[in-house]
């Protein structure tokens, strides 16, 4: 029912009032619109897949269907070049990205969940002030303080090498702090929807708060933990500015910093290699997104924004 009405609305916008009301016009219009959108959205994707398998590897010679391919090995020319080029430590970059994002995700979810439980279940003086403060703080993206963050790691690094500039420890610390506010809020919102009677009865039965949290609440809030995990993981994986400032060694770069610097050099000639690397890096993330799109949409509307 609602769908029909809304569709009528959509056709109305499309027709700009004038044209006839026959449904076939609307259908044709819809199909054309969708086809244009699909072309716009998918052409770059198809093009990069084609580039990855073009043996010539340079942008000038790229054809849509790879030409003169006689063996599987030839089809994988760009991949072989990518893996064997000593100046492009692709797997190190992949590993760095996955490690930094993975550790950040696990720690963020753990710390934010515990904080959110406390905000959701306890009443204490200063609670409201703390909540408002975290909300206000998280509206300023931490890249605005990039200079201060850089100088701070510089200063701290002289005493604690683990968190110095050019370390993954320092980068993870910065990521953890940067996303904490918004994720605590996201989780608290969900925690509030879990009826209090559940944990109250457990407390009456003699469970401690920690037991209640771990054995009762955590299983109930798994959906929001999943949402936050995905958003944090993908967000961290995509982050560029702070990673670029903090990590200076080629071997320590994350994938995004590595790809950016790789491309800055000889782009048109290394197009195929870049395409191969992009394909490897993007495929898992895209599959993750598509398979979990329902969760992600929920998380997006709750406040996290990519674009």
């Amino acid at each position: 029912m609602s769908e029909n009405t809304a569709a009528a609305v959509s056709l109305g916008t499309a027709r700009r009032g004038g044209v006839s009301r026959s449904p076939s016009v609307g259908t044709i219009f819809r199909v054309v619109f969708i086809l244009i959108a699909l072309t716009f959205s998918l052409f770059p994707v198809v093009w990069i897949i084609s580039a990855a398998f073009n043996p010539s590897g340079s942008m000038v010679n790229q054809t849509f269907i790879p030409q003169n391919v006689e063996s599987l090995d030839e089809l994988l020319t760009n991949f072989n070049r990518l893996f064997n080029d000593p100046t492009v430590p692709f797997w190190s970059w992949m590993f760095n990205s996955l490690a930094v994002s993975g550790i950040t995700t696990v720690l963020t979810v753990a710390m934010a969940a515990v904080s959110a439980y406390s905000f959701s279940r306890f009443r204490f003086s200063g609670r409201r002030a703390l909540l408002v403060t975290t909300l206000l703080i998280q509206v300023f993206p931490n890249i605005l303080a990039m200079v201060a963050i850089y100088l701070m790691l510089l200063q701290i690094g002289r005493y604690i090498p683990f968190f110095a500039l050019n370390t993954h420890g320092g980068l993870i610390l910065v990521y953890l702090a940067g996303g904490m506010g918004v994720n605590v809020w996201l989780m608290k919102g969900f925690f509030d929807t879990v009826p209090r009677d559940i944990d109250e009865s457990a407390l009456v039965d003699g469970a401690t708060h920690w037991q209640t949290f771990r054995l009762l609440i955590v299983p109930l809030v798994t959906p929001v933990l999943a949402v936050v995990s995905i958003l944090v993981f993908v967000g961290t994986l995509n982050e560029f500015l702070l990673a670029r400032i903090i990590l200076t060694d080629r071997e320590k770069w994350t994938l995004m910093v590595g790809l950016f610097n790789f491309v800055s050099a000889e782009f048109t000639n290394d197009w195929g290699v870049f395409a191969a690397g992009s394909l490897i890096a993007a495929t898992p993330v895209v599959l993750l997104y598509i398979s979990l799109q329902r969760y992600i949409v929920g998380g997006l509307t709750a406040g996290a924004v990519k674009g």
């Binding site: 916008t13 959205s41 093009w47 580039a51 515990v114």
Partner: protein, 544 residues
């Protein structure tokens, strides 16, 4: 509702037992909790002591703000951990520590740095700069005090610098053996021995070759090292830069020049005008801000950068919201294969942004990119994307549209489903056309739900560094700007980045921080506007 009972239950460790819920058996004996408390106290004491030492070290080295913040944060969190009334906050100690130290402190520190001249040449505090310069040694001319002979550890390779040692003979005939980083060892007078504690004397050609290795090296104790001055003479190194704290003057012992400290400019400047190799950073008041707003070299680009930042954010949101909404409306009626189409359409949003942008950058390459070669073939002309300011901006907005519209499609799809059908039925009864229903019902209702996200998206794109940098690195450059060069597609955040971190340029942290503070203010204003939209702040008071 049940909040009050929980509140009392959680208000304190022991009152949880007494306050009602679990009856006697689970309440721990007093002695256990006392022991527990003591252990906690001890642990915290150890941690606090460590942090205190660290903080004081930072303060002594001139980083008073950081040291102070770390100490203060630790003390506050210790109070949280010890006071039972604050027990619920114990759950958040790690989060709060992180937010305090790595989010809140950097904000204030940005503000502070924006009032200093922290930059290349002024990268250290005065104490740090003096300490670094004090490490520089020189060999005074003429102060010959030793004749030298060189020894090498038995069996060591010729190029192993660490294997060399000197035998020094002073004018009175006393001999000393000087290995590296050890005190001088007195040797009985007379001709130099052929071998001394595992070292062998080098002479003739060996001695000459050894000179190549050891001529710039330091021997003997690290605090008063000795070096080779000539083919036969050695002398004691001296500290080159000596600071006279009483007169606040830095002296160059090598040249005899004096460099009085200029504490307003953060330099040691000689009367002749030369400066010592290292300056230090000092507060300079509003200098960065007045440069930002009054310097004609900066003002022109800044106005352009600011205008484009707003324009980019605005058009990004409007275009991707429009297309996203359009797609959501089109996709609102089920058709065969809708799930596959929807999955395909969100692919651009799922691909890591950096990768998508670089793909577009390749496709928009002027000479060999697929888009331009195709257009050339079809029309004999293609837009000069990366060299023309206007086309560069269009390219960026187009790429952002590609990246972002699936997001708005997802959001709008959800919001459309939530609009109750009864409204449309009522409108139809009143004879509204489809056009009117869209403008008067769908869009306003949608904006209520999506409005805050539009503002959030505006804020995000206001600070979109990734797209600007990965696409054209801010280019094409604005003529007349150099070191760092500023481009027509630079936005405020990439402009900040260029002043603080651009390769090749001077790193001017103070100035970059001043720009960042301006952005903070703008984002703050935007957020106020957004809160008006959501009334989220008021909700906090009510619902929780």
């Amino acid at each position: 509702m049940s909040a009050s009972s929980l509140a009392s239950a959680s208000a304190g460790g022991k009152s949880a037992g007494a306050g009602g819920s679990p009856p006697a058996p689970s309440a721990p004996p007093a002695s256990v909790s006392t022991l527990n408390y003591l252990v906690r106290l001890l642990l915290l004491g150890v941690i606090n002591a460590g942090v205190l030492v660290f903080g004081v070290t930072l303060i002594n080295d001139g980083n008073a703000f950081l040291g102070g913040t770390i100490i203060l944060t630790t003390l506050l969190l210790s109070v949280v951990l010890l006071r039972n009334a604050l027990k619920p906050m114990r759950w958040m100690v790690p989060s709060l520590a992180l937010i305090a130290l790595l989010v809140v402190y950097p904000m204030f520190y940005t503000l502070y740095v924006s009032f200093t001249n922290y930059s290349d040449g002024h990268r250290h505090t005065k104490n740090e700069a003096l300490a670094m310069m004090a490490a520089e040694k020189f060999l005074p001319e003429g102060a010959v005090s030793y004749e030298w002979n060189v020894y090498r550890r038995e069996g060591a390779a010729e190029d192993d610098a660490s294997a060399y040692a000197l035998l020094l003979t002073d004018e009175a005939g006393g001999s000393f053996f000087a290995a590296q980083n050890t005190a001088l060892e007195t040797v009985s007078a007379g001709d130099p021995p052929e071998a001394f504690s595992g070292y062998l004397l080098l002479s003739g050609g060996d001695r000459f070759r050894a000179l190549q290795v050891i001529q710039a090296m330091q021997f003997g104790p690290a605090d008063a090292p000795i070096g080779i001055q000539s083919r036969s003479a050695a002398g004691e190194f001296q500290q080159r830069w000596v600071f006279d704290a009483a007169r606040d003057v830095l002296m160059d012992r090598e040249t005899g020049a004096e460099y009085p400290a200029d504490n307003a400019a953060g330099e040691f400047r000689a009367a002749s005008g030369g400066t010592a190799p290292l300056g230090f950073w000092v507060p300079t008041g509003f200098e960065n801000y007045s440069r930002l707003f009054t310097s004609p070299v900066l003002r022109g680009p800044l106005v352009q950068v600011f205008g484009w930042t707003v324009m980019f954010a605005f058009f990004s949101v409007v275009t991707s919201f429009a297309l996203g909404l359009g797609m959501a409306l089109v996709m609102n009626k089920p058709f065969p294969g809708i799930r596959i189409v929807r999955s395909l359409l969100i692919i651009p949003y799922a691909i890591p942004g950096m990768i998508s942008i670089l793909i577009w950058r390749g496709m928009l390459n002027l000479n060999v990119g697929v888009i331009n070669t195709t257009l050339e073939n079809l029309f004999g002309w293609a837009p000069p994307w990366s060299v023309d300011p206007a086309w560069a901006k269009i390219a960026i907005i187009m790429v952002n549209l590609w990246l972002t519209y699936p997001y708005f499609m997802l959001i709008c799809s959800g919001a459309l489903q939530a609009i109750p059908t009864s409204i449309y039925e009522a409108a139809e009864v009143d004879g509204a056309t489809a056009w009117e229903k869209f403008w008067k019902l769908t869009l306003p209702l949608l904006l209520v739900a999506v409005g805050p996200l539009l503002v959030a998206s505006f804020t995000y794109n206001f600070n979109n560094y990734l797209l600007i940098e990965a696409m054209f690195q801010g280019g094409p450059p604005i003529p007349g700007t150099s070191a760092p060069p500023v481009g027509y597609t630079d936005n405020l955040i990439s402009y900040t980045f260029r002043y603080a971190f651009a390769a090749g340029g001077t790193r001017d942290y103070g100035f970059a921080s001043a720009i960042a503070v301006v952005i903070f203010l703008i984002v703050g204003a935007l957020t106020l506007f957004q809160f008006r939209f959501t009334k989220r702040l008021e909700e906090i008071g009510e619902n929780v």
